[in-house]
Amino acid sequence: MTATSVSTPTLTDDPVVRQVIRSRLVAITDQMRLALQSVSGSPTVTEASDFFTGIYLPDGEFVTMGHQVTFEAPPVGSLIRHLLANGTQLKDGDRIIGNDPFVGALHQNDVQMCAPLIVDGELVGWAGVMAHETDMGGMDFASWSPKATEVWQEGLRIPAVKLVDGGELRQDVLDMLLAATRLPAQVGLDIRAFIATLNVASERLTDLCHRYGSALVLSVMGSMVDDAETQVRARLRELPDGVVHTRDFLEHDGHNNVLYAIDCVLTKTGDRLTFDFSGSSPQARGFVNCSRAGLAGGVAGALIPTLGFGIPWNDGLLRPVDVVAPDGLVCTAVPPAPVGSATVEAVWVVSNVVSAALNRLLLASPKYSHRAQAVSSGTMATFNLSGLDRHGQLFGLHLMDPLAGGFGAFGDHDGQDAAGPINAPCPSIADVETNEQKNPLFYHYRRLAPDSGGAGRRRGGVGAEVGLTISVPEAEALVMTHGVEVPNSAGLGGGLPGGTIRQGLAKDGGAPRNLGPKPGAFPMTPDDLFHVTWQGGGGIGDPLDRDPFLVLEDVRRGVVTEEAARTTYGVALTATGDVEPSSAAYGRRKLRAARLGVDADSLADPVPVETEVPDGAIRLSDRLVAIHDADSGDWQLRTLDGAVLSSGSTRWREGAHRFAMSLPTTVGDSLHDELAVTGWACPLTGALLAVDVHSRDEDPFHDIELDFESLTALNRRDQQS
């Protein structure tokens, strides 16, 4: 008897065969990653995993993705839908290239390729790949020009072009693409890597279809997406219903240091999410905008890791999501708006507000509050360098070290130091030595930046910082970011934001000059020292609720200074480096009294944050509790210490003590002119409930209006389980 002679259940129903196909699809996606990383010549791919590989359904929904940049999940699907909508004739062996932000790319540097998988004349799916190319032409090196006012001044736009036609490379097209870039060797290697990656995927997928039949493979692909959708919808039903409002800012559009708001109103009903960005600023004159494709990338980038834990990552996670926003905003820009730095500007800030909104729901859910996370690395401060290297060859560097920002704190543990942003599931940066060997760089230091982690009961991870110069006589640097004057890594539930970017240049051994957010391009010599400190992650909970011995350990590790321990955490150290016992009590009471503007001696200490809430009450954050008041019959929002802040709604700011807050120097000393900081405290004890960074001309808004019925239902369910 042999395998072929036995009867097995009909193929489409056999869960075993289906599982085998699932595993193969995941394995093929990983093989695509290996192929890309092996052949690529871009540090963004080889060292930093700033790329994407995936397998797609015939309609462009992605079925699998590697653990790579989550912003990049939607774009190749958009390219595929563009091809389908145009009725492009496709045949086996076609490889299509694109990078147009008004088709689906995040910005022109993100070069994508896709391959239709045609088996026995039928379109069974697609393989897709994309990666960040350091230069795709345009008026300035790196295709990011602060001077640009029109998208046509930026990198070459490729809507959707067949680079390989039925298996034949179109050398004329490749020549045209390589003629447009300043780095033809690097881009040339990468395009070869893309083709190799798609060939691997195509061969393996064809094998799979021949073995099991295209219909079955297609059916399994479809159910992978359906299953992820089912799981994420179930998870959404475990979160309270309501409306969450978050806002973040980016400063400077390359021309003027004006502030742009990205405003997110999240409405969560049952198993659906609607993100409304209508309240965001109009599109900018400069390159900080993103197109609607960038908005989709920013939403996906934050949503996938925040809600998709434990679920295979695919388009099913995005099915319950609607995005609402009119054209012409900073996050839905239309031509002629330039979008060159979209990924690190508008897209990144979209991701910040989506993360902040979703984590407010996690924090208010009994099942998930421990894994709610404050905002991580709220920006990526870019450093590009170009010129002639020591061999006289043109070089171009897109430094990936700025990924080393801090992770946001979690409800139950501190954020990791130098962990990278949430859009990077497997972050990585090159060694200092590797960077110095490949590029004419010379580092003075690369280290963790003390006090850059957002203070809180759980501290945000600290970011890293570098000081470097060049090792050739001259080169041109291109430096830009947001988050020098905006603390983007927002805290949660009374936690403070992480430190802001500080970047400067010391010319010829002189004193460092603050470069501000977007100095743009400037020449460097080996006598100049460029330094930059990246944002830390946000904290969770009042810093005065942090265990003093954890603060002590932070000081010993050098991630919190003694000064910050005393002024931010209220923990003084003795001469021998131990916690001053009285400081943890009286010192902290003085800091709380200062928030309320009262005398410390007459102030009651707050109850410990670990205090259990009464039966039937629901904790929305460390010190905010929703409780059904038997006397009035209304729901109330109270502090853990018993102060009633609101009745009948979760608009708890109505009754909280409001005060103008000054942030620690690493966070607040370079605050943008148009911004103000407001703290909210328990009127009875001065315990910190929230920190709002907002427009100076506007009052802070209520960030959360939850549905009490859904809260009660969740609480009941949690207690039953």
């Binding site: 599982q19 085998v20 990383q37 679920i311 130098a418 060694d431 590797t434 580092y443």
Partner: protein, 702 residues
């Protein structure tokens, strides 16, 4: 036991030992080629377990211990698990000295430490990140004023005062070992040497490791990790080997101890005392080297070794007679630059737990381990494992499992599979057990594909050698998945690492950086050739320095080459004393191998080349013994129903047993052959034959 010769020779005997998490394996071979395998429980001090195994071996061979020991001229030893446990649990307090400004090298960990150890879906769960602390806590890292650049030029001279203060702080903290890793010490070791001598002066009892000796490669994170791991292990390894040598000498052993290394092969124990980090992953490496040796005996140069243990499935690849080597491994959450036999591994083994989540059947990576173990062990396990599935399918005999004398509880396994897997999937217990096996096999097949097809090799050109407790029972299904005709099971299948420790060649490696950048269109210059030739000469000298009987050794060289900008490189063969034409040949060979790997037209010389480093490998072949010793014939024990493909129609399957097969036997499938600690499954349509090495050759039919 095949003790057929009443008077075995009184010298030239070989022992190979390997310390695993549960058992210490020992393989013994007499001068005339008889072999025995023994297993003794691993003890917490490691040494006692090894000594116990030697006693057991003597008993098994029917000799007095002193008599046995006096006959042994080769004692091979691997302590992978012992060293690992020591590193995680009992490593000494270790400090790190680094260049000023870079003291957070282990904290930042290239951002890779945060996700180290996470796989698959875990990578999408950020709440799990950052659980692994750095190898050395920040408080024990001290910075020294100095800086060297990429050319080895001193940019900031070493400040001995700052170094002295840094060492003083480590002394105050009570460190017993010190790692020194300064930037670009690979290009100019002067500062590291000076700091090391200062440490030896100020901390005379501390074990000192310097990065340019321990891991001479560019990239400070892996170099520092390797250096501190080495420092942390040094005192322990030294103490351990001293004790082992003393205890074995007390038994009458005069043979020097040869330690296995991660790179495959053995080195004198004294070498490992200074470089313990090179032994970290030596167990799996020995297993691959054992496969390489068997390949030689079989006259095949392409071998795939598979080892299915309790928690993992390890695969090694031997191409053109040599195991593939990688230079970086991840250990303890850190990147380590240790030349290692390239082992691909997934968390799937006999103890892997099967589960249904959201209608999807998964196997592993969670494992029931040794305790509570599979459900059928009756030691409290409630979640079904692949071993439970094998039992239900009829592959395992409840009465004759392993050497522990456990009777397996088939009914409990069946219940657990029915309830946990069958019910949610709508399958009966047998169909569910088969489903577990198919998913398990398919995951293993994916890994075999990844190491062959995805690296440009056709798996059908390889001989698959199945080892480990579950390997010989699953290999038939993998062969069918990959289109292989069959596989080979050695009689030492469950102790391949011990066999490898006993048979491996002496092998030492040395590498050093030799950075040459050749922009597009630029030919290698005499200067470039001088750089490479100097590196070749230096690595040759160092590889031979650690080799006893250097004049009997062969030395081969390779260079790491890549297109400029790439992170991955290929190791390309290089002759001794290379000249201009040899370097030009090197680049041609690189392009040829590159295209072989990535497809015609994948090469892109317009990017230019980089030659990163040179490695020398010195090998002294172990003496081999003629085969041709008689084994025993298969004994038929009876038959039982075994499910292969159709869960509703099991095949009546003959069951045979044997401890060491005699040559010339021939069995038709379906049948099972129970070897010590494992079961060889021959599927319907398959066939098993034996040769004079005791190997079972299985063909799997259609």
């Amino acid at each position: 036991m095949r003790n057929s010769d009443p008077t075995p020779a009184t010298t030239g005997w070989t022992i190979g030992t390997d310390v695993g998490g549960t058992f210490t394996d020992l393989w013994l071979r007499s001068q005339d080629g008889q072999s025995w395998v023994c297993k003794s429980p691993t003890t917490s001090d490691v040494v006692t377990g090894v000594v116990n195994a030697v006693h057991l071996a003597a008993q098994t061979a029917g000799l007095d211990v002193a008599d046995l020991c006096s006959r042994v001229t080769r004692f091979g030893h691997g302590t992978t698990v012992g060293l690992n446990a020591l590193l995680t649990g009992r490593a000494v307090r270790t400090g790190l000295l680094t260049t000023r400004g870079f003291g957070d090298v282990l904290e930042i960990g290239r951002l890779r430490r945060g996700t180290a150890g996470l796989t698959g879906l875990e990578l999408g769960d950020y709440h799990l990140r950052g659980q692994i602390p750095p190898l050395v806590p920040r408080t024990l890292v001290q910075e020294v004023d100095e800086r060297i650049d990429t050319d080895g030029v001193i940019r900031t001279p070493l400040d001995l005062v700052s170094a002295g203060e840094a060492i003083g702080r480590l002394a105050d903290a009570g460190v017993e070992a010190v790692g020194i890793c300064l930037l670009w010490a690979t290009e100019n070791p002067y500062h590291e040497i000076a700091v090391a001598s200062l440490v030896r002066e100020l901390l005379p009892d501390a074990f000192v490791s310097v990065s340019h000796e321990i891991a001479p490669s560019v990239g400070e994170y892996a170099r520092a990790s390797t250096t501190v791991a080495n420092a942390a292990l040094g005192p322990i390894a030294g103490h351990y080997l001293t004790r082992l040598e003393a205890e074995l000498a007390a038994l009458g052993m005069t043979a020097p101890i040869m330690m296995t290394t991660s790179a495959g092969g053995v080195v004198p124990a004294s070498t490992v005392t200074q470089r313990p980090v090179n032994g970290l992953l030596s167990g799996p490496a020995s297993c691959v080297v054992a496969g390489q040796k068997l390949g030689q005996a079989l006259g095949t140069s392409h071998v795939l070794t598979m080892d299915v243990g309790g928690t993992s499935f390890d695969v090694g690849v031997v191409v053109d007679g040599a195991p593939l080597i990688s230079e970086q491994v991840t250990f303890g959450g850190a990147d380590m630059r240790v030349p290692s036999v390239d082992i691909a591994s997934i968390g799937a083994g006999g103890g892997s737990i099967a589960a249904v989540d959201g209608g999807v059947l998964t196997v592993g990576p969670r494992s029931a381990g040794a305790a509570p173990g599979p459900v059928c062990y009756g030691k409290g396990g409630t979640q079904p494992t692949t071993t439970d599935a094998d039992l239900v399918l009829g592959v395992l005999d409840p009465e004759a499992f392993g050497s522990g004398g456990i009777v397996l509880d088939r009914a409990a396994a069946e219940d657990a599979i029915q309830n946990t897997i069958g019910m949610p999937l709508g399958l009966d217990a047998m169909a569910a057990a088969r489903a577990i096996r198919v998913v398990f096999d398919s995951a293993m097949a994916d890994l075999l594909r990844a190491v062959t097809i995805e690296r440009g090799h056709d798996p059908r050109e390889f001989t698959l050698i199945a080892g480990g407790g579950s390997g010989p029972s699953h290999a038939w299904a993998l062969c069918r998945e990959l289109g292989l005709d069959g596989f080979v099971v050695p009689p030492t299948a469950t102790a391949q690492s011990a066999y490898g420790a006993g048979t491996s060649d002496l092998k030492t490696t040395a590498s050093r950086t030799s950075y040459v950048r050749l922009p597009s269109g630029v030919e290698p210059s005499p200067n470039d050739v001088a750089t490479i030739a100097a590196a070749v000469a230096d690595t040759k000298r160092r590889a031979l320095a650690e080799m006893p009987g250097a004049d009997l050794s062969a030395v081969t060289f390779s260079a790491s080459v890549r297109y400029h900008g790439q992170a991955h490189h290929l190791d390309v063969a290089l002759p001794d004393a290379p000249d201009l034409s040899a370097v030009a040949d090197l680049l041609r060979l690189f392009e040829k191998e590159y295209e072989q790997l990535y497809g015609k037209g994948a090469g892109f010389r317009e990017a230019g080349f980089e030659i990163l480093s040179v490695r020398a490998v010195a090998t002294r072949e172990a003496t081999t013994v003629d085969a041709g010793v008689q084994g025993e014939p298969f004994t038929r024990l009876g038959s039982r129903p075994v499910v292969f493909d159709d869960p509703a129609r099991p095949d009546d399957t003959g069951v045979f047993a044997c401890r060491w097969p005699a040559a010339g036997q021939d069995l038709e499938g379906p049948c099972l052959v129970q070897l010590p600690g494992c079961v060889v499954v021959i599927p319907p349509g398959g066939r098993a034959t034996t040769d004079d090495l005791g190997l079972i050759h299985v063909t799997v039919g259609a």
